[in-house]
Symmetry: C2
DNA sequence: TCTAATTTGTGAACAAATTCACAAGCACTC
DNA sequence: GAGTGCTTGTGAATTTGTTCACAAATTAGA
């Protein structure tokens, strides 16, 4: 399969969000034009994005909402459950662990780790915060597929290395550092400072343009 | 000035991060090659990125670390303080409000709002959570320049409209919705679901490539 | 002062992503 | 079953972003 652009994947997520919304309202068909309007892009872009994966619509008619949303879930890998562990039981970890939209999409938080003795043992909903020394052993036993890295910047690379050697192949990183990982491990970094700097850049330089993605 | 690509702005943030790090360690000069290695890009990319804003280096020598970091701070609009208000006093709001890196970079959280009576009045460090009905009046009085939107998805668009009509020109949105804003208001959206979906897509489809940005 | 070793800045070549534009397919009507 | 009105799917054109490659600066050493 041809390499899919990151921007395409991002848009697929957006389309799926709308499809689920209108599906819940009972809408049965939609068009590339609808999806474009709601997602802030163009209808040609929507069709091109979808065309990388097949042809899901009917000419003259549009797309079946249940079918397209199911296909998108499949493409994005959401037809199954994913076991997530959170490393770093601070505020960000807490916000994520109790984020409902998480479970809705099939992400099951099945482990939380920290190395602070004050936090170890506390209950977070159904899971108990465990000592980070158990990470490797638990990863093997529980089969975590995604690790959320929410530790201080100084520890991030060291913990990331442990995550990788524990065999986990996807990391969502909240530490404000550029992690270096071996090929074959998927990484996404969410960096608040960077987001704010994009805003201040916009405020200062192009006093204006809407720089939504 | 020519329109600057979003990817360029993102990389400038990354370069600045490294410059501040090595500046703190007393390093005085660096090269496009150093910055590239640390930032996971190429030296040509670094030089091209910088070239949009001027020429800051010396041929044969490289860049002065203090000078370049100062120029980047200027370009990114970090040479001044920014007044930030947080709307939604939940976990995400809390995590942001006490994030130290925030203040370091000149972002001053000077207001927190919620509409839940149980939260209104509680102290968050130096600020007190206020009733969201006061947002517009306070925005005029305090001059907030950036709003962090951390409310549930259902309320996000409505609150965003109020932020805009209060005259705030930049929004950092954590609600998992595609906001529609008038031109001239800068928007960045951080969407956990989307990040996770990019990871699951990578796990399912190209079992492997490192999709770090 | 000349030569060698660096490293920047940038036009030109290349690659990637987006938009255009239109043929092809489908539903509905007459 | 021919005509009309829509909407998809997709090559081609265009635009945007990245990489190449090299002249121009600069330092250091002889």
């Amino acid at each position: 399969m041809r390499r899919i652009a990151e921007s395409t994947v991002r848009r697929l997520s957006i389309y799926l969000g709308f499809l689920e919304e209108i599906e819940a309202r009972g809408v049965l068909t939609t068009s590339s034009d609808d999806l474009a309007r709601l997602g802030g892009t163009t209808s040609a872009q929507v069709r091109k994005d979808l065309s990388f994966f097949g042809s899901f619509g009917k000419r003259g008619l549009g797309y079946s909402v249940p079918e397209l949303s199911s296909r998108l879930r499949e493409i994005l890998g959401l037809e199954r459950q994913w076991k997530v562990c959170i490393i770093g039981a601070g505020k960000i970890g807490a916000a994520l662990a109790r984020y409902a939209g998480f479970a809705e999409r099939g992400f099951v938080v099945s482990g939380v780790y920290d190395s602070d003795p004050k936090k170890i043992g506390s209950k977070w909903g159904p899971v108990t915060v465990r000592d980070a020394v158990h990470l490797e052993r638990d990863a093997a036993a529980n089969g975590y597929q995604i690790a959320v890295l929410a530790v201080p910047a100084e520890e991030a690379q060291r913990v990331a290395d442990r995550i990788v050697s524990a065999g986990i192949k996807a990391i969502l990183n909240f530490a404000p550092v550029q992690l270096s990982l071996p090929n074959g491990v998927a990484l996404r970094t969410v960096n608040m400072a960077m987001e704010l700097e994009a805003l201040t850049f916009a405020l200062v330089n192009r006093a204006g343009a809407n720089l939504s993605r």
